[in-house]
């Protein structure tokens, strides 16, 4: 559908000040997107598939281990998912165009086209692309749990966060029918659930999703917060995921990764 209207540019703001590291987003993503069950051995082999993961860092652990006083150690959490970079390093290196940038700001993976060279994962600085080392299987009891709107991926291909594109499609169809652009609220109402599973599952409202092209949307407003930063900004990937720094009253200077 070719129209002249301004496209959406989907983005997310991650307010690290609110993240408690509860992993609800990880579980929600797992359930929504038919991600294979990660067994303990998958984690040990470093082959687990988590489209969103909570990275946990200990601050001050080294000094604390020397002194024996662990009371000053701080746990830092950062949810990392595909940053849907505007200037994505993973895209130009795929020999078969299995990954590209669509006109709504999403970095899209085409499962059918992927041949599994794994170049994209090497060239992803955030490590958010996952390779299917095995054919995914689910126990009989979970077969009815699989989401019918999401493809089950086969062995030997890459997969990654889609910003739950299956949810966005609903609102998109409505827009096409009505011939006008919907703002985040209308879009949410039309699609039933417009934000990705992780954002909806987050109990502390850490993950906020919406249209970056709409100056009045919640994400756009939050992205302008003076705590904002982009992950590994020096690489120049221009992510569509904006992080808001944690407020730490003890810290003398800004603690970012």
């Amino acid at each position: 559908m070719v129209t002249t209207r301004v496209r959406h540019k989907w983005g997310m703001v991650v307010d690290l000040d609110r993240c408690t590291g509860c992993q609800a987003c990880v579980v929600a993503c797992q359930a929504e997107n038919n991600i294979p069950i990660n067994l303990e051995q998958h984690f040990l082999q470093r082959r687990a598939i988590e489209w969103i993961r909570i990275e946990r860092y200990w601050e001050g652990l080294e000094e604390a281990e020397k002194t024996g006083d662990l009371s000053k150690v701080k746990a830092r959490f950062i949810p990392i998912l595909c940053q849907h970079c505007e200037n994505a390093p993973c895209e130009p290196v795929c020999p078969v165009y299995a990954t590209y940038h669509n006109n709504e700001g999403l970095n899209v993976q085409i499962y059918n086209r992927c041949i599994g060279t794994r170049y994209c994962v090497n060239n992803c600085p955030y490590q958010v692309r996952f390779f299917n080392f095995w054919q995914p299987t689910w126990p009989e009891s979970l077969h009815n749990q699989l989401n019918p709107h999401v493809t089950v991926r086969t062995r030997g291909i890459m997969e990654k966060c889609t910003f739950c594109v299956q949810r966005l499609r609903k609102g998109g169809r409505k827009e096409v029918q009505e011939g006008k652009r919907l703002d985040d609220k209308e879009f949410d109402a039309q699609s039933g659930m417009f934000a990705p599973a992780c954002a909806r599952a987050c109990p502390t409202d850490t993950l906020v999703f919406g249209d970056m092209n709409d100056p009045n949307s919640r994400v756009s407003t939050m992205a302008k917060d003076n705590r904002n930063y982009k992950l590994l900004a020096s690489i120049g990937t221009e992510p569509n995921v904006i992080y808001l720094k944690k407020v730490d009253l003890d810290a003398s200077d800004a603690a970012t990764h």
Binding site: N87, P89, P92, S234, I235, G236
Partner: protein, 475 residues
């Protein structure tokens, strides 16, 4: 195989290969005659070059008025030193490589190429003011990993190490000329009329008599100095291109750049050698020593090195282009697409496109004029290229040195040459040529001992119906 010879025959008819056909006595007389006496034309050119050198000194004095706080005004001065490093100081490399590969065609040109090493004196003088404008190593990118706060190691970085490399360059270049020419200095000693000149020949030839032992020592010493010169040349290029170009530009992290600088040096060295050989043949009276063979062989080498010019540039460029990070984007804009685009495109044409399309044709390679024209194009192209590189690097102000990347706001404008810059450029080129010309007054510009060696080891032999050249390969 017989058939291949017939094919050669068919191409060349009964052409007899060019070969030095003098007697050893004639070689000695002619070469020494040219060294002891020079015509008025020589002195006229030398005078003009000296005048240019004086102008350059005036330009330098004007420049010192700008002080050493900022590097911007010194861009052309730095570029000229870079240019001398990649041309005059690189020329001895041709001699070194010819010696190491025992290329028989190179014998008549090695001395001329080596004599350019005397420009090391000028380089040494030029690096001294540049040491003052080189900022401290701490707080910016530097190849010396200098960390003033934690280790203070290596001591004196970067200034001391730059100085060491240039002292090495000067000492080795003079040593190379000297060691190589000892047998010829002895010949000159034996033939020179009594006087101060003869005394110097006597002192510098170290009692050379041409015994087997002396020849063996000479060969070893020459090999050693040659290899040391080559290594030091690579080191100087590494230090100068990194400390005086790369580390001045925020975000410029380019591991191929010193190698590119060195390879540009090899290319310009060949070009300068060709031009020198052309001048010697046309105006220097060495028509019977330099043949098409020398120009053909040098042209053959110049072709791959011109392709390398592009290859090394492209290898660096494609990597940064694909990187697309803000730092790399800033560097590419500064060096190639922004203020210096036109000068860059011109140097690509002069250093790569023109040489490639001319030298790829054998009839152009196998001539005297063809390689010379290409060589001039390369010398001009390298001149422009050095001006682009060093001016771009020098024009970044001190305040921006610690930035992560160049942004459109901090992108420095083009540094157009002022009057003093023009004088400096003329002075550097004129000074280099003047030094070379003065050196040819003392050291024979044609290698007497190697010319005689060629007389022994090169013969024309009949093979079937053709006359071909046979080259002796001792041991």
């Amino acid at each position: 195989m017989r058939q291949t010879q017939q094919h050669t025959n068919g191409h060349n008819g009964h052409h007899r290969p060019d070969i030095l056909t003098k007697t050893p006595q004639q070689v000695t007389e002619e070469v020494l005659g040219g060294t002891f006496r020079a015509g008025s034309r020589f002195w006229l050119v030398a005078g003009v070059m000296f005048a240019l050198l004086v102008l350059g000194v005036i330009g330098f004095v004007i420049r010192t008025g700008d002080g050493t706080a900022e590097r911007g005004p010194w861009g052309y001065f730095g570029a000229m030193l870079g240019y001398l490093l990649t041309t005059a100081m690189a020329a001895p490399i041709v001699a070194v490589l010819v010696r190491l590969t025992k290329a028989h065609w190179g014998k008549p040109i090695v001395r001329a190429a080596q004599l350019w090493g005397v420009v090391g004196i000028l380089c040494m003088l030029m690096i001294i003011p540049l040491l003052f404008i080189l900022p401290s190593a701490s707080g910016r990118n530097t190849i010396w990993f200098y960390d003033a706060i934690r280790t203070g190691w290596p001591p004196g970085a970067p200034h001391a190490w730059v100085l060491v490399s240039f002292i090495g360059l000067l000492v080795l270049s003079i040593l190379l000329v000297w060691v190589d020419s000892i047998p010829d200095l002895a010949t000159a000693r034996d033939h020179a009329p009594a006087g101060a000149r003869k005394g110097w020949y006597d002192r510098l030839s170290l009692g050379w008599e041409g015994t087997t032992k002396q020849w063996r020592m000479h060969r070893t010493a020459l090999l050693l100095v040659s290899v040391l010169y080559l290594m030091n040349f690579v080191y100087v290029n590494f230090v100068y291109s990194s400390d005086f170009a790369q580390s001045f530009v925020p975000g410029w992290k380019d591991s191929i750049f010193p190698a590119t600088h060195t390879v540009n040096g090899f290319q310009s060295a060949l070009a300068l050698t060709i031009v020198t050989a052309f001048v010697l043949r046309t105006w220097g009276g060495y028509k019977d020593y330099l043949f098409t063979e020398q120009f053909w062989a040098l042209g053959k080498l110049l072709l791959p090195l011109s392709v390398f010019w592009f290859y090394f540039w492209f290898s660096g460029f494609i990597t940064q282009w694909y990187g697309r990070s803000p730092a790399e984007h800033g560097v590419l804009t500064l060096l190639y697409f922004g203020p210096y685009r036109n000068i860059f495109v011109t140097s690509v044409i002069l250093n790569f496109v023109l040489p490639l399309f001319l030298l790829i044709q054998n009839w152009i390679r196998r001539s005297i004029l063809g390689p010379t024209v290409v060589a001039v194009s390369i010398l001009v192209g390298t001149f422009l290229d050095r001006i682009r590189l060093y001016n771009a690097a020098f024009s970044v102000p001190n305040a921006d040195l610690s930035h992560h990347a160049l942004t459109p706001e901090t992108m420095p404008p083009v540094n157009f040459p002022g009057g003093a810059d023009v004088l400096i450029m003329l002075g550097a080129v004129g000074g280099a040529v003047f030094l070379f010309m003065m050196a040819t007054r003392f050291v024979p510009v044609m290698n007497i001992w190697e010319a005689k060696e060629a007389l022994l080891l090169q013969r024309i032999v009949p093979v079937l119906k053709a006359q071909l050249k046979a080259i002796g390969k001792p041991e």
